[in-house]
Subunit: 504 residues, 2 copies
Amino acid sequence: MDIYERIKCKDLLDVVLPPTEVVKKHIPRKGTIACSGMAQMSTPKVVPIFLAKYVEETGEEFKLNIYTSGSAAPELDGVLARVNAINRRYVYQNNPIVREKINRGITHYYDIWLGEFPRQLKYGFLNDVCGPIDVAIIEAVSIREDGFIIPSLSLDNIPLYMQLAKKVIIELNTAKPENLEGIHDVYSPQPGTPIPIVRVNQRIGVPYVPCDPKKIVAIVPSEALEKEIFYGKPTVIEEKIVDNLFNFLLDEVKKGKISKSLYPLQTGIGPIGDTVAAKLIDSDFTDLEIWTEVAQAGYLDALDSDKVKSLSTSVFMIPPEDKKHGERFLENLAEYKKSIVLRPLEITNNSELITRLNLIAMNQAIEIDIYGNVNMTHVLGSSVVNGVGGSGEFARSSYLSIFLLSSTARDNKISRIVPMTPHVDVTDHDVDVIVTEHGWADLRGLSPRERAKEIIEKCSSPEYKDELWKYFNEACRKVGGHIPHILSKAFSFHERLIETGSMK
Amino acid sequence: MDIYERIKCKDLLDVVLPPTEVVKKHIPRKGTIACSGMAQMSTPKVVPIFLAKYVEETGEEFKLNIYTSGSAAPELDGVLARVNAINRRYVYQNNPIVREKINRGITHYYDIWLGEFPRQLKYGFLNDVCGPIDVAIIEAVSIREDGFIIPSLSLDNIPLYMQLAKKVIIELNTAKPENLEGIHDVYSPQPGTPIPIVRVNQRIGVPYVPCDPKKIVAIVPSEALEKEIFYGKPTVIEEKIVDNLFNFLLDEVKKGKISKSLYPLQTGIGPIGDTVAAKLIDSDFTDLEIWTEVAQAGYLDALDSDKVKSLSTSVFMIPPEDKKHGERFLENLAEYKKSIVLRPLEITNNSELITRLNLIAMNQAIEIDIYGNVNMTHVLGSSVVNGVGGSGEFARSSYLSIFLLSSTARDNKISRIVPMTPHVDVTDHDVDVIVTEHGWADLRGLSPRERAKEIIEKCSSPEYKDELWKYFNEACRKVGGHIPHILSKAFSFHERLIETGSMK
């Protein structure tokens, strides 16, 4: 389809520009650029590549602060990091080149909750460090007559970025479906005003992103689709983790604590998240609702089966290679617009709504200590892997906070249940239940010493259980206290790993 | 005044009973007892003393789970812990005898956020561990004709405890003013329903605690007033901390980030909290509002000076020895009922409202690490001091999260800025600004390495600055990573303290 047909606001036809010109004219050498996209979806994939080329060809120095709302596609993160153009990278990343530069202290990384970041931006908290947003680069599928934008299947922080940026560049993607208007719900919270959402699929805002057309300095044609994101099929262990999760939840239903419809679920992506979405379909639960920041195409099956009746998310992830879901989504788009709502992160991750809707939060961890503290981000306390995402926002304000992980990693060389985590993202106070392939530890109402027994007994690997008991018993005997720890041995598992390559 | 005049519901006159009889008839040997009060105010102070006497005299074994909403007076915690009657002590304590038993692993302690606790109770999360609430013992100042209760100046979890308990015992305190009806606002959040509060002093509920009169099995006369709580006058250092806090906030006003009315302040008690309340009066701020869990009598001066225009809290702390404020409060009670609202913790600490009202949260810490992680509760990682209170609820969902502490303790033998905290209550993600007597570190938008420089340079004591720099530089050089740490030396300050009695 012709790009001009997608620009209904005819005043904007003049700013359709080739990316080389956009780079020269509108990208500052030093400054802050906010880009659409998260979960590697809806990242601008043309301007950044031309920018990187320009840097390579001219040798000019670029020192940019790159904002996204979550992980960016390699067409942004990878190419710009490779040419050393990224000074600061806010707010979440999972790109190997960016990660390496962060861990070397070259790129500054601000790893903050996904819902807190737009709030901080809105109140000018980052101005002292980053200055205002010079340019927003936003992937869109069409521009309305009034100049307002219809984004692709990620709403993330697009409305705020377009509002705050001095200039806006649109990457108009004609390879993506045009008729997405009506799936987004754009609304920004104001202090002192209740957010009027009381149902998961309720719409309270407008179906487009408002923007002063004068700010749109360029429209760049794009036909770039996301590259395949392959994180592997779920393993037997991951299947078991999800089975245990479901058994725990069914137990809650049996005990009469909650109905079979549960409360709205906050779920994630990756093999475990995909397995949750898939297994819900044949589960005993009914009339489920999903309220999350990232949802995957698999939920279309759950919606079609009537097992899930509504879904609210910031990004709906249908990778281009998943033709089955992609086609079905387009065929039934009008229907899906009734059950699926894409919201800005200011809404999906808002504590007001997480509290009110009484979410069941399910997050994953790198490691958890015997008292229930969670490390989601850092290996050996120092090296960041990805980032916290919105996990802590959900864990803190939800009805129930569940953490999922396998008991070991790297062929059992690593125990993911450890005496003390050398990095804490979510404290024991916000962890209700831990699920591994061995079972679940229900920590609600338990003192730390009771939690340790529950976690070691129910969740740890048989290969590490004795060592964990040994640490705990020795700490109780030699040090005591409310949370017994021997400081000189608290990281013994990690130090052994550094020395020998294994925690054993 | 005669106790019978305060019981307007004449059916209840029959259950006025002496405490000895109440203990024999209504206190189970094993079970869960929920008591009114927090910040040592409004604790039942008669039945627990007679219970302790009974235990001592008969030698019978009592194994009780004692719930309060915050710290209890020694007439509850001290006397029952001394006779070993406390099996579990939920949710916050600051009693030396209880603390000692917790740290010896004798008493189980569930140190969870003050607003999360009632939510967990409401949803039956503690039933598996503690069973239902057998008895609620509630201090009240009068009983209405309909049998509904007017509590004293703490509303804490009283409404929920009375709703959930199988039996209710009222300690009717005739030494406290009777005419408090109208200062409380009783409302309980329901999932899916917005809490309609949009102003700090807005009333949305009823001015009494509803209770089925049939559940009230006993009314015990009480004339017990709280013992003096003395935590010392603010030191020069504490005064400096508050001056730095105010200078930081004024700076925000100057930068145009916020108006002179700020947003509602969440403040605490103790010397620093008292100094904040006192210094607000002569500050440049105007039309302030306070939204907190515990507020002190000093705020009456701020209200009278029109500097503070409204105040919402769960307990309003006027100790009996503070006759000046006590008398003024009673004289102008009708006026104060317009500006002061006492709310249940389900409301004061509710993330929905903390977010919506855009609070400025100010909390205190035992120690903070160079990357901004906060330990509020545990000495050397193991021994609990008090508890987390609602700190993390405010820090997580507020507009701005500030932590206040002196840079050293115990004659400079302890640095409260350390390489790594061996216990984390609030993670760096929820810490915006740290204030000590030396200055403030504004961490917003900074990467961990930048945060370390800011914290060491602006907040640490000159006596420890070099050592902190040494650790940080060595960690950057030898380990690197996003958050450089040398695991074998991360607790070197603490281990030195254990070995030599000083971190130096």
